[in-house]
Symmetry: C2
Subunit: 190 residues, 2 copies
């Protein structure tokens, strides 16, 4: 996970690992201009995109976990919200458009410096097709989810949580913009 | 917000702004070794730390918004969870220890590439004192919150939301590890 910053991104001179004054962690500090380079966790945003009673999964065309099934998700970019990132990733990986409800899950993945956040959404008209980072996209009913071939633990947990929620009597997805009623979070593996 | 990456952090040679193959955004790409430098949003994690009916605020010793009041919060680091970051920031900014309940709010701040996440917590024994980035720390009752002197919009929104929740009949903070019952999210200013 730790990006290795050997050279200063401002002046191109070598960095040194040291703890800046007033800080308590080692950072890559430029030996020439003094710039401090911070490396922080990244957000992976995605969607549980539902059509009728089925959920959209994508078979990954790229590493890590090539060939395994995942929810559409990817790195959030600057200048967008978490929700917009989830919609964009669904578009890029599965050529689907989603109307979002509330945030369904937040999963810390500290050993690789990531936080995964999944929204619940409706896949418009059930339309999807294979995006650039996918080998295949498909709508799965709960009985058909390929549990042993899911790509990431946060995908498995999010799907399990979604199906457990849906099974509750009277379950209604929260409206966009409302306080989220059911965001789950789990203890990470360490 | 956009960190300017003029030089490659791997080899120190100048970068060029261009859209890598298979991507759809301009990135700083090394002209020498081809490394692509991604810049993604950062998570700011913090706590609404409550003792009896009062909330802990810190008056900022540093820019931006020096002298204004804030909830203890700061950039999440690698190798920690969002919850651990909220606890660490409360320790660093206010020398307080918090037992956390659920996640209270998520605030997108896309124009500066940040996502702010606040937990609800109990400030142990009500103890706090001035941390390195604070000029003053104090427990405020709802009636005394310095609304006009709060540092950030996400702080104002999170406090308003907390007080509105607390006013509901039968309000009980969700237990740690339980699905979060009341996480709020707002449309960002654009």
């Amino acid at each position: 996970m730790n990006q290795i910053i050997r050279f200063c991104m401002s002046c191109g001179q070598p960095t040194q690992d040291r703890t800046p004054e007033g800080d308590n962690r080692s950072r890559a500090v430029c030996g020439q201009c003094g710039e401090i380079h911070y490396v922080n966790p990244k957000i992976v945003a995605g969607a549980v995109a539902v059509y009728e009673d089925r959920v959209l999964l994508c078979r990954r065309a790229i590493e890590p976990r090539k060939n395994y099934w995942t929810l559409p998700a990817g790195f959030m970019e600057n200048n967008e919200t978490v929700a917009e990132a989830a919609q964009r990733e669904t578009r890029e990986e599965a050529e689907g458009e989603v109307t979002l409800h509330g945030l369904l899950s937040i999963g810390d993945v500290p050993h690789i410096g990531q936080v995964h956040m999944y929204y619940l959404g409706d896949l418009i008209e059930g339309k999807h097709s294979v995006g650039v980072e996918s080998l295949e996209t498909r709508l799965f009913s709960e009985a058909d989810i390929p549990w042993d071939d899911l790509a990431f633990k946060t995908v498995t947990e999010t799907l399990r949580y979604y199906f457990s929620l849906r099974a509750r009597p009277g379950f209604v997805a929260s409206a966009p913009g409302e306080p989220y009623q059911f965001t789950a979070q789990w203890k990470p593996d360490r």
